[in-house]
């Protein structure tokens, strides 16, 4: 009797465990193969909490492939994408190997999670295949974990911090101010908070609260009450993905008036918050209002194809494929080794910004301009995509681009 009583309770517990597993399940792969084409692997999470960004990444890279093929392809061959969901570091690693060994891709573009990017980077290094990271921010990828075949078009955490920090300084929001931060409790958040805290304290700010928030938290109300109790001057987010959406919605709900800023940000999470909820100053690697001819052309083509403006994640994957196509044309071969050499030699590329970008040989980081934006009042929004005003770019036009790049602290040792 007691036995079956026990059984049902165990079933319910299993249910709880199953519910947890549900969040992490992946979708099957999409693989198509043909000969006489240049195959490019695209590997990024489209399920899980980074899924929304991964979807934008796929849109960006597909548009780039279409444009390249419409213009006659590369070296007379069509570009063919092999698109996969990277799911988690183990799957990412296995799929990267399969893309290289079985699908014979010329190189790999993608990733958003720093842990998965590290896994793919290791495969890339071992197989001597170029991997361009389009979404992972951890500084460690550009430091101790760097390797000659892993390139980063995405900004490092320290670049995000410096980009937004520059504007926070001019807005007089750092010096002598009391800061209260909420940080996503995993590797990305810890890394971001470390860099952010260094920047803020070096510039005369002080942290009166540093809270870690579990990634599965959906209700922020206890944190908001603590912030209200602490009465800080600035509230800073080092949160990630959907966490930011929940946080800014509930921050508005509780009516807290302390100015918000954040060091990590993607437009999608603010688009998803809804009218009257988004506030503060935030950094971006690129946004759809960047006013350059190539940027406008991209935004127009993207909006025509997908019916909405491109999110910043689209930018990285779109440009990476364009960079690869241009490089293959310039070196007259679809050769991974030569591609790595070419990129590491500092070839310059139009990346839809006012100045060209290049990968620096020290850590393979794309050296480039970045942006900060300020949330718009909801009554001034033209449509649901019009949520912020550009504050400008960093570094300023007369400064060397390298001032924004991570410090060359010697942690990155490229093997020959």
């Amino acid at each position: 009797m007691a036995h079956s009583d026990d059984l049902t309770r165990r079933m319910l517990l299993k249910g709880a465990a199953g519910a947890t597993a549900l969040a992490g399940l992946g979708m099957p792969a999409i693989v198509k193969a043909q000969s006489d084409v240049i195959r490019i692997g695209h590997l990024t999470p489209v399920t899980g909490f980074l899924g929304p960004l991964g979807e934008f990444a796929q849109m960006g890279v597909k548009l780039a492939a279409e444009e390249i093929n419409a213009a006659g392809g590369v070296l007379g061959r069509k570009v063919e994408l092999v698109i996969e969901d990277s799911v988690n570091p183990q799957t990412a690693s296995a799929k990267a190997e399969r893309l290289i060994e079985r699908d014979k891709v010329a190189m790999i573009i993608g990733e958003i999670s720093s842990a998965s990017a590290l896994a793919i980077g290791q495969v890339a290094n071992r197989t001597k295949t170029v991997f361009i990271n389009t979404g992972a921010n951890s500084d460690a990828l550009r430091g101790a974990s760097c390797n000659p075949f892993m390139f980063h078009i995405e900004a490092a955490n320290s670049m995000m911090v410096t980009a937004v920090g520059t504007y926070l300084k001019t807005e007089n929001m750092i010096k002598g101010k009391k800061w209260y931060s909420l940080t996503a409790d995993y590797a990305f958040g810890h890394d971001l908070f470390r860099v952010a805290k260094k920047f803020v304290t070096e510039n005369g700010g002080e942290f009166i609260g540093e809270e870690l928030v579990p990634t599965d938290a959906t209700d922020f109300s206890p944190y908001l009450l603590k912030i209200r109790q602490a009465q800080p001057d600035i509230v800073a987010s080092n949160l990630a993905g959907n966490q930011i959406t929940n946080f800014i919605k509930q921050y508005a709900e509780y009516g807290l008036q302390f100015p918000i800023t954040g060091f990590g940000f993607d437009t999608a999470v603010a688009w998803g918050a809804g009218k009257g909820n988004f506030s503060g100053i935030w950094p971006l690697i690129w946004h759809h209002m960047v006013d350059t001819p190539s940027s406008k052309k991209f935004v127009e083509a993207f909006t025509k194809k997908y019916g909405k403006p491109p999110e910043n994640q689209c930018w990285g994957d779109y440009n990476s494929l364009k960079i690869v196509a241009q490089s293959f044309t310039e070196i007259k071969a679809a050769d991974p080794q030569k591609l790595a050499e070419h990129l590491r030699k500092g070839a310059k590329f139009d990346i839809l910004k006012s100045r060209e970008g290049y990968f620096r040989a020290y850590d393979n980081q794309m050296v480039q301009e970045m942006y900060a934006v300020r949330a718009k009042d909801s009554d001034k929004m033209k449509d649901q995509w019009d949520i912020y005003d550009p504050l400008g770019s960093v570094p300023s036009p007369n400064e060397d681009l390298e001032v924004l790049a991570p410090p060359k602290d010697g942690t990155c040792k490229m093997q020959a």
Binding site: D5, T8, M11, L225, G274
Partner: protein, 291 residues
């Protein structure tokens, strides 16, 4: 002074408990009557939220608030008739697999139709703002959620404990064979309870859409907490689920006040503790068919 802030967290925890309750109550109802461990419960919550977003732009939030739970309940009727019904008497592992699959199908369907990115949705202007009680702050909208949850609980209680319908349902929970022997077919009752439970999940979806991200995985995010509440409360116990929801809300709030990184872990610890000290759950009943 610190006491005041602690008290504020306790009261806020009760508000948070109200929305754990909305989801857990339906889960508990469906499990009690049919023995179905409904892993797709979170997915119905997500469907409720997406319906709220879609309908609000057409018929306004008030309309969506009424229509979405009803539509989700209707979906519950279909699911019960076509699927759940076949699994009441079989090994619970089968219904577990069934609802696990159902949850994935619903989540991926939402992803295919609406995309993976969160949909923008806000609290209607009329319901925005905060209420100050002394130095305590409460968003008006959360008080409304609390009120609706309270009303839903009272209505469910009345239905289950004060009507002829409820008597049959409770008898069915205790001994379905005896109910059958008395010439009462349990099937329509099963359908009604599934519709009610799933409809409550839909109601929670509508209520929470304005204050949390509306994205395909939102159901999976909240389902685990709902299961924890049901386990702590005790199987088949109406009051147990209510007590557990309040307890989880308060314990989580206090944990975040003292040691934020353990905020979400606190509810699992609480569950482990309850299971160790009182394996039946807080107010779990002995249910004959599970003995």
């Amino acid at each position: 002074m610190a006491f005041v802030f602690l008290l504020e967290q306790v009261l806020n925890g009760l508000l948070v408990g109200a929305y754990y309750l909305l989801i857990a109550l339906g889960l508990s109802l469906i499990f009690s009557l049919g023995g179905i461990v409904n892993l797709s419960h979170g997915a119905f919550y997500a469907v409720g939220a997406y319906l709220a977003v879609t309908l609000t732009s057409r018929i306004g939030f008030a309309g969506a608030f009424v229509a979405s739970p009803l539509l989700v309940a209707l979906l519950g009727v279909v699911i019960e008739r076509l699927l759940f019904r076949r699994f009441y008497r079989s090994d619970p592992i089968l219904s577990l697999l069934l609802t696990f699959g159902l949850a994935m199908i619903i989540e991926q369907s939402l992803r295919i139709i609406f995309g993976a990115a969160p949909l923008p949705f806000s609290i209607p202007t009329a319901l925005r703002g905060q209420v100050f009680l002394g130095s305590f702050i409460y968003p008006r909208y959360r008080l409304i959620i609390f009120g609706v949850a309270l009303a839903a609980v009272i209505a469910t209680w009345f239905l289950v404990y004060r009507t002829a319908f409820g008597r049959v349902v409770r008898a069915g929970v205790q001994n379905p064979d005896m109910v059958g022997a008395l010439g009462i077919s349990l099937q329509p009752y099963m359908t009604a309870i599934a519709a009610l439970g799933i409809g409550l999940a839909g109601l929670a979806g509508v209520l929470l859409a304005p204050i949390s991200g509306v994205h395909p995985a939102m159901g999976a995010e909240i389902l685990t907490a709902a299961f924890v509440v049901v386990v702590i409360g005790g199987l088949g116990s109406f009051w147990g689920v209510i007590a557990a929801a309040a307890l989880v809300g308060v314990v989580r709030g206090l944990t975040i006040y003292v040691f934020p990184p353990a905020g979400e872990a606190s509810m699992y610890l609480l569950m482990a503790l309850v299971l160790l000290l009182r394996p039946r759950g807080l107010l779990g009943e002995r249910i004959q068919k599970f003995e």
